[in-house]
Assembly symmetry: C3
Homo-oligomer: 333 residues x 3
């Protein structure tokens, strides 16, 4: 394995292999070593779970790890080629990537969408530059487009509870309300990965909240290749009916991209998009999942997230185990 | 030992056991291992000594450690139950605590008093939530109410110099001036712990600078249980007379809580509350202690802190040894 | 070796010994251990390369390392003696240094010039105080005056490519334009170290951009002692002619010190001070070096930094190896 940008670029068997490795590590059956390996974690955005779980994962594998928080504006990188750098950017991304590639055996990169121009954000320029220039494996810790380590923990949690034969499993990915328009990396990766496994995927969202057309089309294709099904609906009964998993997430509308205040006004009409007991009652005793952090009683009712059917803490814990499998697959042997 | 919130919740024998373990580690008599144990340090406020000494302590014990600086506003946590989280808080503290409890075998938490509403601050809501929800041992790295790791190093330093039989030892805790109203965790913990050991405690402060009534009453009770004595006075001769230890600290007045500018004006009248040679002359050759950082020539005169009787650097060093004892008592075996 | 403040305080043989040790470590011939040694890295200014390479260096040597980012204003230190600390400084530098010296076996310090008052900055007060008060070896990670770890990697890179017999080697240190006045530590250290090795040093800069007179005089003296030569010129042909190394760097003018806006205006006339193919054509196939980060197409043309003659990434990588040699020389055995 020479990088991890998106699970949807891998085969179902490769993803399954990572999850099996993660389960064996979680069970303590194997404790492989990455001694003398060097991991650099580069955060352009804040992090709690991702940072903690990656740092501990590398330490538990006996490897070396350095974390760099670039903060908002502290380290502005030029991304365009051939420019005269007399503005605010102090370093070209190609130089930063090449240098860090000399120090690290792998680099984890977190760089959210900027939220202003989707045509630019959907190119995923920062992680793309690191892949191109660093010369070492890059691990996506959430980019504009994808959050593969989250999706890996998500599927691992589903398999722990529903078995590993997940083809045709009815799974609901539902949009939820939130005070702010959020990035799409998590729903993109969840949709594409459940599609890769041929689940019976129900994508439930209000009008205007489809994901990028490239993602929707690819999910459709992956589903049909794997013997699954993709249903897109705004009908709660259709979306939740008989489902075994409810995965909630809020994200911003492409119709309002770069236009936060307009979208905030529009969202006032969407407050009923909360996962509550009434909606869960349509399901076949579905588990509740969410990547966290979550706005309680906006995205999900306390009664759902605090119920025995909520597996959000297992899901968060599985980040650690899944990432150890990723690190070992990339840096091991 | 399953947590460390305040030394005053422990018995004198338990605290003594920690100090003996710390002394054996300092002397290099034992070097126990916490290999494969995971410590998370969560700072809601900045830190120099506490962060450095905890990180090094865990590394010296061969354990894994991750430090998270939440900064001022970067990660606003909801503390109240059952609220609709449509404001600025991005995560409920119960979710953060539960997730970090899945990654760490213990969590250190620093969360100062906010300084606006004492009725709220004195509930110590952040550390309390971590104790309730994380499911793992919590180590208080300074909360609104207590700073037990500091008090442990303080008592250790006293015992190194005055012997371990400290019952009846005359000890002065004196308020000192400072440009800003500071939190009360350090004086609370020093007062309660010297009381727990039955010392002859002199609490010297200007009118209006008593600690919280709960703390004052508990100190009185602990003193009398342990065969010690508590004297509260604003008289320097009474407070310093024959003392063996002078512990200086500034803190804010409860009369002015949340009212910084009014208190600052009032403090202009209190500039004589500095520990200087004149006051030290009343003592029985007392040692000078302070938790640092300290405002020189405001809290203490250069001539006192730079004298051979000043043990502030030993006291700071003992933070490291004391915390190794705490970590081993909680995570060892 | 009991500290590293500037290479110019060492003999040529001592510096050569460090480079040889670094080369043996880079080649994997030796892998010494600093197990149970404790390094503290204290950054008053941001860092990418220095922080990453020092943290990894210490981890690769099996030692303990703690990094403290003081940020801009988060931890204001008093540097003057005998002051009444009732202003904004929360701690005296002597107390911070003494405490950190109790925790660490060595302390790395980065503290740039403040850029307001050169008479004050040229005293290098922060690193000087740490040397005076900490009681442990101090490693300069870039101060107002010097950046010895950079210079060590620079000379190492020159020797890798031009052989170790560098006396008389024609080397060009050229000023370059930049949107902002930058500190002088890098050119100071490169000039003094190439002088220490008796190279044929050409210092090329526009009028008004000489380094501090103490540095210029010391470089002159070191050059003549070591059988080298120092040429100061604003003539490109004289400066680049027959050179084997072109080292580019921008720095602020002492004529405008503390007067950023005036200098920025003046610099508009100096945009031709860029390292481009035309200037490189005067050299004897010179290698291009720069400490990074670099403003492309302002300091250096893409065609130069991206050519096979550019060794800037080797130079950055050598930071890691050179620093391992420094750490082992100070903390080893």
């Amino acid at each position: 394995m020479n990088k991890l940008v998106s699970l949807s670029h891998m085969t179902q068997e490769q993803v399954r292999g990572l999850i099996e490795l993660a389960q064996r590590m979680k069970a303590g059956e194997i404790s492989p070593s990455l001694k003398d390996k060097n991991l650099i974690l580069l955060f352009f955005n804040p992090s709690l779970r991702t940072r903690t779980s990656f740092e501990l994962a590398m330490q538990q594998l006996d490897g070396n790890v350095v974390t760099l928080n670039t903060g908002g504006d502290t380290w502005t990188l030029e991304v365009d080629e051939n420019v005269v750098m007399d503005g605010s950017a102090v370093e070209h991304i190609k130089d930063a990537a090449r240098v860090l590639g000399r120090y690290g055996d792998a680099i984890g990169v977190r760089a959210f969408a900027k939220g202003e121009d989707w045509e630019r954000d959907r190119q995923d320029p920062i992680i793309g530059s690191f892949v191109t220039y660093s010369g070492v494996p890059i691990i996506n810790m959430e980019s504009s487009l994808y959050h593969p380590n989250q999706a890996l923990a998500d599927i691992m949690t589903i398999m722990e509870n529903c078995g590993t034969d997940v083809r045709g499993l009815p799974v609901t990915l539902t949009w939820a309300n939130h005070p702010n328009p959020l990035p799409m990396a998590v729903p993109n990766s969840f949709l594409l990965t459940t599609a890769l496994f041929g689940m019976d995927v129900r994508f439930v969202r209000p009008e205007g909240y489809d994901l990028d057309p490239m993602v929707m089309e690819r999910a459709e294709k992956l589903c049909s290749d794997a013997g699954g099904r993709l249903t897109v609906t705004d009908n709660v009964e259709e979306g939740y009916g008989g489902s075994r998993i409810v995965y909630a997430k809020s994200w911003g509308s492409l119709d309002y991209y770069g236009n936060r205040n307009e979208e905030k006004k529009h969202r006032k009409k969407l407050t009923h998009w909360i996962v509550d007991d009434e909606k869960m009652a349509f399901t076949d005793g579905a588990l509740f999942l969410h990547c966290l952090p979550v706005r309680r009683n906006v995205v999900v009712a306390d009664s759902v997230i605090d119920s025995p059917k909520s597996f959000v803490y297992d899901e968060a814990e599985n980040r650690l185990h899944a990432q150890k499998a990723v690190l070992y697959s990339i840096l091991g042997e």
